[in-house]
Symmetry: C2
Subunit: 473 residues, 2 copies
Amino acid sequence: MKEIERLYDRIIQRVNIDLRELEFEVNPYVQELIPLVQMVKFYAFYGISPHLPPHFQFCNSNLAGSYFLGRCKVTDSLLYKSDIRGDELKKKGDLFRYLDYDMQVGDDEEIEIRNSLLIKTLVHNYSHDPETLEKFFITDTISMNYANIHGSPSSGCFLGAFATVDLTTMRNCVIGNFSYIQASEISHINIESGTIWIRNPGRFNFFYRHNPEKINDYIYVTPGAAPQGLFVDFIEDRKEAFQRIFDSVHIEQPVPVPNNASLDRFAVTKGQTHIGENVLVAQRAFLQNSWLGQGANAQENCFIINSRLEGCNVTAHGAKICEADLGRNVFVGFNSFLRGRPDARLSIGDDTIVMPHTIIDSKEPLEIPPGRLVWGMIRDRADLETNSIAIDDFSAIDSSASIGDLFFEGSGAQFISAFKDRIRHILQANGAFFNGSEQKGHAQKNQHISFNTIQPYPEGMKKGLFPTILIEP
Amino acid sequence: MKEIERLYDRIIQRVNIDLRELEFEVNPYVQELIPLVQMVKFYAFYGISPHLPPHFQFCNSNLAGSYFLGRCKVTDSLLYKSDIRGDELKKKGDLFRYLDYDMQVGDDEEIEIRNSLLIKTLVHNYSHDPETLEKFFITDTISMNYANIHGSPSSGCFLGAFATVDLTTMRNCVIGNFSYIQASEISHINIESGTIWIRNPGRFNFFYRHNPEKINDYIYVTPGAAPQGLFVDFIEDRKEAFQRIFDSVHIEQPVPVPNNASLDRFAVTKGQTHIGENVLVAQRAFLQNSWLGQGANAQENCFIINSRLEGCNVTAHGAKICEADLGRNVFVGFNSFLRGRPDARLSIGDDTIVMPHTIIDSKEPLEIPPGRLVWGMIRDRADLETNSIAIDDFSAIDSSASIGDLFFEGSGAQFISAFKDRIRHILQANGAFFNGSEQKGHAQKNQHISFNTIQPYPEGMKKGLFPTILIEP
């Protein structure tokens, strides 16, 4: 076990050095957090699909419980139960449009994870950084439970639990728990917990911060202990259902799946669950007694329980939806927590955008009309007034506006248009618009993936480390 | 599926060319034998252990259901449910004694399988060829169900079902069904089915051929069809028990295992089975209601049912023992079939050597006294007279002897001494003599092995082929 301990210490040291200007020490957050002995227990796995000729390179790392898809290189790192999805990497020769430039991608893009520690983190590669088209890097970075690193190259950073960084290149930053950042490029900043910040320089700036006291009920981190709170309890309560899935080599499809849809074999489905046409259910998604209409997608680590989603719904990575009825084209952003009650259901009208990291947790029935933009924390009808607006009204903002605790500046129309473009891209990439021959997406391409499993040395000096593994087509 | 079909055809073509002088065409034996679609169904797996730093290289091959341990390279080959065990490969710098020479091994030895088709074949690498110390090659070779390629480099050969080649380098040979060959080096010969031939040039020559009519009850091959007969039925009847083992990621140890013994997680144990100290049970061994005394080993594809083995027993690859009581130090050779009946048990005294490919299948109780050499086919007490001899008497042969259908020439003493040395080596290598600190063998070293699984492309042109995989320590 000697070598893995050395590696652990070295990663911590390097991240500390990178964050010295911010006077941030990662030690209390990661020390003792994962007993290294846990890291010997779980197999990692990678997907083999003709749509993504496999290029993997794993070297001097532990990958316990992690999943890999698409071109990826992991060196000197510890990845614990993380999902690394490289299925939207750019290809050699692709044209990348940035402002007025058409940039040619010089080589097949690759995810490179080096000297990093990712715990239950989702990495998805849809990166927009024109400065690093061929390499999606995650170096000297520590990322905590249920964080999302989404299209966001990162160097020398610390991400708290349930944090999301989206389409943002980060250098030497700290991202607080449950913060959502989409800001192109950030450097040397420490972002407080519960911050929702979306910035497109010169166009718009969207800023909201969750009330620190209220947010503690949902996610709370004490140095030296694992993250606590309702989010953690919610996931822990449902952990066992995944056990069976990971313990079996072959899983029978538990519910009917149309031949243009896909249900990942590492997803959980319980009770009466309906999978519609062109639906994508990703690995580690949890579905219970729910109805997914045509073109809906349920992304990694999401939970959809006792709910009905009419169609073309995006349920982003880590989002949770309980006792709710969602119309068509409802978008639910990363790590959002939408909870109705059996006797007080939540209903959301068509074309509504629920911003990432939104909490809707009402004990009274709540009805959100169609076409709304919704953000922040909503625990009753009064909160809904200050935390939502008709999308058309938001589009009319042309310089700035304060709505409840939200501060927005710039063009509301550009903000809404950017968001809608993004949602369309997500639906398209996931195969929602497949017509039987064109517009194939993940829902169609992921139907046949083989999974190979890998394990570390079971004893000796290298105990817990995986051998060096290279996979080529 | 295109590429795997081309590969299949190319292997057949090359083996046919290599065997043209013998006027042997392999087509009728392998054509349609494995529907290629089966080859997409099973995962292959390889072991990771600090005792055998992993070196694997798999390239343009299908490996369905196969197992790999130790340094191994597979190129342009189809391996279906085969066991490739490279745990006794020579190491760089080892001294290899051959006649009066001490030869230094120049590099770590490696198993190299190229342009070959192995179906349910066991490959074990304990090779003695002084001409190829660093490479254990299997090229342009087709090997059928339950054949054993044991320490036998092979080029341009065809092995029939249940054939065994042991410590023999082969070039352009055909080995008939259920033949056992141990002959140092052979070239351009076609060996009839049921031949037992052990030759040490200049020292001894042991030759027996099973009666072709009688052997047909046990193993029978019609061109164009899968092998048939009692051996096949026997295995097929017990196939399902392996299903559960291969479908689960984690297997609870079904019976107590002493901490100096090992029971492979891919072995089957049923009923009241006892595993003694220093016992080794290899993958794909099948144990039912049996007692394995101290230092016994149960090798790949062996079956031990309702039997008691007192200790230091070798049950070699593919051997089957039912309703029998075996004393200490009883050796049962490759693919032997020993069947007593519940009301007519078979008993075998201490220190008896049951030659490879022996069939003892008696409906009356049969008692073999201690210290016998036993061979051929024994179906009643009369057969026992012509197919066994006291080891001491055999040792006394100094020029030649005919006993029943057995022809022997050379030194009986040298033959027995070579056999006993071999048995001692097997027990030692398997850890039978471990004293708590010294003489570790497979029984002790195999306790902690991680298994990684690999699968082929699930669709597309490369359907059924595995991606290129390189594993280094």
